[in-house]
Amino acid sequence: MTAAVFPEFVLGRLDGFEQGPWRIETGTTSRGGASCNLSERVLRVPLTTDDVARVVRAHELMHIRVSPFHREHVPLELDVSDRALECAEEFRVNYLLGQLGFDVSLLHDGTERLGAQRLAAGGQWDEAVCFFLAVIGTGGESDYLRGLRSAQATWPSALRALKKKVLSVVSQLDAAHIGGTDLTEEGFPRGFLHVTLPIARLVSRSMSAVGPVDPESLRTFRRSLEPGARRPPSGSFAPLVFDTSVDYVVRTRRGAHRRARPATCGTAMRYPSRLLTDPLQRAFAHKATVPGGVIVIDQSGSMDVTVDELDALLHNAPAALIVGYSHRPGDTGRTPNVWILARNGRIATSVRSGNVGNGVDGPVLRWALRAASAREPVVWVTDGQVTDSNDHPCHNLSVECARLVHEHRIHMVRSLRDVRGALRGRRASADSFGRVGRELPGIRGL
């Protein structure tokens, strides 16, 4: 005998969602075995008659009641990742179910402990945070924390601190507010805006942190949860997000940028008039070698690179591939952090300013090394202050960049004025390059 489910009877939304016939598909009670597609009205739920299946069905019905059905109803914040929003919404739905008297302690499938052990053993702190949001208040919470403790003793304490903050978001609100679907002045569903979003902010911030491994890092993590606190160290670079909105124009090749220069000998007499006018009679054309290479420019706040300097470089290194980078601290991939300023004879029509932080030094250097042709130099304009995606200095990341510099003979220069010299092979002392510079001697000695 299969159980019935009536998604068509879940009404009461005030955000314009149009109820209609639903297609029911058979799901399971295991994690990920049920889902709710609001845009196409497809409900996948377990249809067995046991109590667990009933609560899983109720969970999906609650999504029908409160979750945004339109992308425009989901506020996009630069610091909040989609994954964090998903997890926060799962928490809101479970919390509302509990408020309505459903036994959410039944929501566990027995995989929580093993799943937690695997996450902890693999050091996947960000996934551990997400998973935790989905099990808060359910029967799997204790097993989950026990599983984490087996490999990461401090993680459960950090997650309990997070839980306390998450519960403080909902504790002052009634169920009608938490599940409210009336649109605010900003055009977002009230419950989602006032509950899911603040929790997702906390989750995003926590996910981006490096998993606390000792009492000191645990204290740092706890402090980061306080309102207005600095983001915790992430210990990792952000992924590259290229700016695709940059416009380019073909570079004019005149004056110093001409690739053909007059010469006294050659195969084609290109400038016969010089036989009369030039004392050296340089009537032949000679193809000049213009310095190529890849120039990587750190445009973070500490570099203080001006637009005028960049503009001048674009014209003084005509054959180079020039790329600027700067990551917005805490950004979840919505803000571009790399932009190509010149490539293949085309230059950007305008030079954009940086996003304060570094955040992507390592990935952008690797990208530059891949982009450079054989024997082309890679020049890194930097002060050597490498930071993680939350703009914290990080020893491991500094070492990572120092290794790249050493192994691939990347030319480091302090300012754009030194770029031309570096393209011609001139090298600067490592002393002036902050943390990366300090790591280089040790790496060279290996």
């Binding site: 009536f6 009461g12 069905r57 409160v66 509302l96 009608a176």
Partner: protein, 241 residues
């Protein structure tokens, strides 16, 4: 009042068609959506509607009339609902509602063909008086069927009804008497798959019964063991406040 209680497109179509003066309309679709109720009421400003419920055993006598004993060894002709509808409203004609029309067969079907014909073509001779009777100018017929396949209806009969409207949800007026938390679900009770439909009548009964019994018990009695808990869960989640 939530947006779910707005008048559905099907009911707007019915109102517009009747307002435009079309007098032959077929309403079809899932049961429990108030098709018959609407057929009896919508578009009528005066008089009452006459109603026929078709079955395989329906005879023409139940449509046009039959001889009845009048005492003292006499017999009297009693007109059936179709002829009464022709004559209603002081001869202007009233409304004839033919329910479950897909079930009509045999001589009932041939009689229905005659009485639902156009006002100009239809006529019938009273066997008692010998008088020829024609439908009044305002005579209208609304047929209803639960069948989703209109091929189940005789082509000749179908041809007399140029407008067929699928009614997929009850009219909001039909749920006005229900408690607020049941109005929306009652309107949506017929939009799901066949095995998940809950008729308007069930909601009426549940609303009445839960006033006396615990909701769980009332739901079990009305919706059955299989669906009761699921319906209560959906109602509770929908009524989140």
């Amino acid at each position: 009042m939530t947006s779910e209680l707005t008048v559905g497109q099907c009911w707007s179509d019915v109102a517009d068609v009747l307002d435009a003066g079309l007098r032959r309309v077929l309403l079809y679709g899932p049961p429990g959506t108030g098709k018959t109720f609407a057929a009896l009421k919508l578009g009528l400003t005066k008089g009452i509607s006459e109603r026929l419920v078709c079955t395989e055993d329906l005879t023409s006598a139940e449509i046009t009339g039959t001889w009845m004993p009048a005492g003292a060894g006499k017999w009297q002709w009693r007109e059936g609902p179709a002829i009464r509808a022709w004559r209603n409203n002081a001869g202007r004609g009233g409304r004839l509602v033919v329910d479950e029309v897909d079930r009509a067969s045999g001589d009932a079907l041939s009689t229905l063909l005659a009485v639902t014909d156009s006002t100009e073509s239809a006529r019938w001779r009273n066997p008692e008086t010998g008088q020829w009777v024609k439908p009044g100018p305002d005579f209208s017929v609304v047929m209803t069927t639960n069948s989703e396949d209109l091929d189940d209806i005789s082509p000749a009969l179908r041809d007399r009804f140029p407008v067929a409207i699928r009614i997929d949800r009850p009219h909001p007026h039909a749920v006005a008497v229900l408690s607020d938390d049941l109005k929306g679900p009652a309107l949506n009770g017929s939009v799901g798959d066949v095995d998940r439909r809950v008729s308007l009548r069930s909601f009426y009964a549940f609303d009445q019964l839960r006033a006396r019994l615990e909701p769980e018990r009332a739901a079990r009695l009305i919706f059955g063991e299989h669906a009761a808990q699921a319906i209560l869960d959906a109602l509770a989640i929908g009524a989140l406040e």
